[in-house]
Structure formats: C-alpha cells, structure tokens
Symmetry: C2
Subunit: 153 residues, 2 copies
C-alpha cells in the first residue's frame, strides 16, 4: 500500500467516525426535542426531502418551521432507533444511510412505531460536518397508494 493510499484511508476512517458522532448527536437532539440543537446540524442551504407533506424544503429557515410543526404534532417522547447505519466519508464530502424507527405514545398509552428510511449527506464546512441534504421516507404500495408503515427490517 502506498503512503498516499494509507493517508487517504486514515482520512476516511477519521471522517467516518466524525459522521457517526454527528448522527448520534442529531438523534439525541431529536429525542430531547431540542430544536436549536437539531438545527445546528444543518447547513444554511440544506435541501431536505422529508417523509411527509411536501416534495422538498429548501434552506434552514424553511426546514426549521417544518421541524417545529413536526415536534408540535408529536408531543410525547420521541422513540428513535437507528439500525444498519452505513457511512462513507472522504475529505469534504460524506453520506450515510440507515433505517429509523420513530414513533411516540398515543393519548391512550398505546405505542405507535414505524420504520422509515434515512439518507443523510454532509459537507465539511468551516471544519464542521454539516447536513446539506437529507431524505426520509416510507415506501408506498402501488395498488392502494398507501405508505407502508408496518414494514419491519
């Protein structure tokens, strides 16, 4: 292995670790419903494809309003579990994808949980990894047109 290849590999390993830390931090912020902390993970010009409502949200301000609406919709503690996290990172560009169970507790105490898919794309901006793009979704059934919220990994 050339020393250049070894250096590149070291950069990638370190960057991948940094992305894992960023994902953990974001999940913790969501679980704590801390909107300021959640938003601190996004770049100002983030383009988000969220699972509900609209094709896309452009820019951190628009996305913050959507996040606020989501937190208002789900007032119980957020049950968030990340599974099958896969990370690829280079010097300035990184992405990860994972399955995400998210849900809460209904007023009658019943738990509602569904599995979604997440792809999160980062750029290194001012020495920090910031999310420039993310994509959350549930697949849908072609016949009924309904989102498939009962699938399990």
């Amino acid at each position: 292995m050339s020393s250049k290849t070894m250096t590149n590999r070291k950069i990638e390993t370190t960057a991948e670790d940094e992305i894992r830390v960023a994902v953990d931090g974001w999940v913790e912020a969501v679980q704590k419903r801390d909107l300021d902390r959640i938003m601190s993970y996004y770049a100002p010009d983030v383009v988000s494809f969220d699972a509900i409502l609209a094709l896309q949200f452009k820019g951190r301000d628009a996305y913050r309003k959507h996040w606020q609406a989501c937190l208002d919709m789900c007032t119980s503690e957020m049950a968030f579990e990340v599974r099958e996290l896969t990370v690829a990172a280079d010097r300035d560009v990184a992405f990860c994808h994972y399955l995400l169970s998210c849900g809460g507790t209904k007023e009658d105490g019943e738990k509602e949980v569904g599995w979604m898919r997440a792809t999160v794309c980062y750029r290194s901006i001012g020495r920090r990894w910031l999310i420039v793009h993310e994509h959350f979704s549930a697949p849908f059934d072609m016949e009924s047109g309904k989102a498939l919220l009962n699938l399990v990994p």
Copy 2:
C-alpha cells in the same frame, strides 16, 4: 488560495462532472429500458431504498430482480425528467439529489406522470463511479396515509 486548495477544487470539479455524466447515462438506460446497462451503474453491494414495496433491497442481484419487476409493470416508454440536480463530489465519495418526474402512457393513451425525489450516493471503485446507495420516494399525507403523487416542484 493555496495550491493544495486549488488542487482539491480541481478534483472536485472534475468528479462533479463525472457524476453528471453518470446520472445522464443512467437516465438514458432507464428510458431505453436496457436492464443490463441500468445495472452497470450499481456496485455489487448496493443498498437501495426504492419508492415502492419494501424498506430496502440489498445487493445488485436482488435489486436487478426488482428493476425487472418495475420494467414489467410499466410497459410503455418511460418518461423521465430530472430537475434541480445538485452534485457534491470528492476524491472517492460523491452524492447527488434531484427531483424526477416519471411516468408512462396508460392503455387508453392517457399520460400518467408523478414527481418523486431521488438521492444517489456513489463511491469511486476501480476508477469508476458506482452507485452504492440510492433512495427514491414520494412524500405521504399524515391524515390519509396516502403517497402524494400529485405534487409539482
């Protein structure tokens, strides 16, 4: 600007162009319904979050079967239009996202078109950019649980 920064920027610009070429080639392959050519864009261990049916498809063989099923489902010419393509690429890692109108012509001649969201993630493998992950989806409506297939950008 340091010469190192200039070199990095040059690498990124070239890589971004290469990703744009890869996206164009993939779109053309889909429009021509050329399954072998479509599959040539994927890495053997691709993990795909497709818009329909399942949470994920793992590996090129499983994904090929799904692609075959999709092509069988939509027998007319595929109307595919990419809009708002955004690319980020470094030495070995790249991603892009875009909006995709896809549809076909029904038996009575009526055109059916819907906008979806696409995120496609690449790694440079053996000097070629291959798709290691992709994510297609439509957002859904929380009340009805239905996929929102009538949204326009």
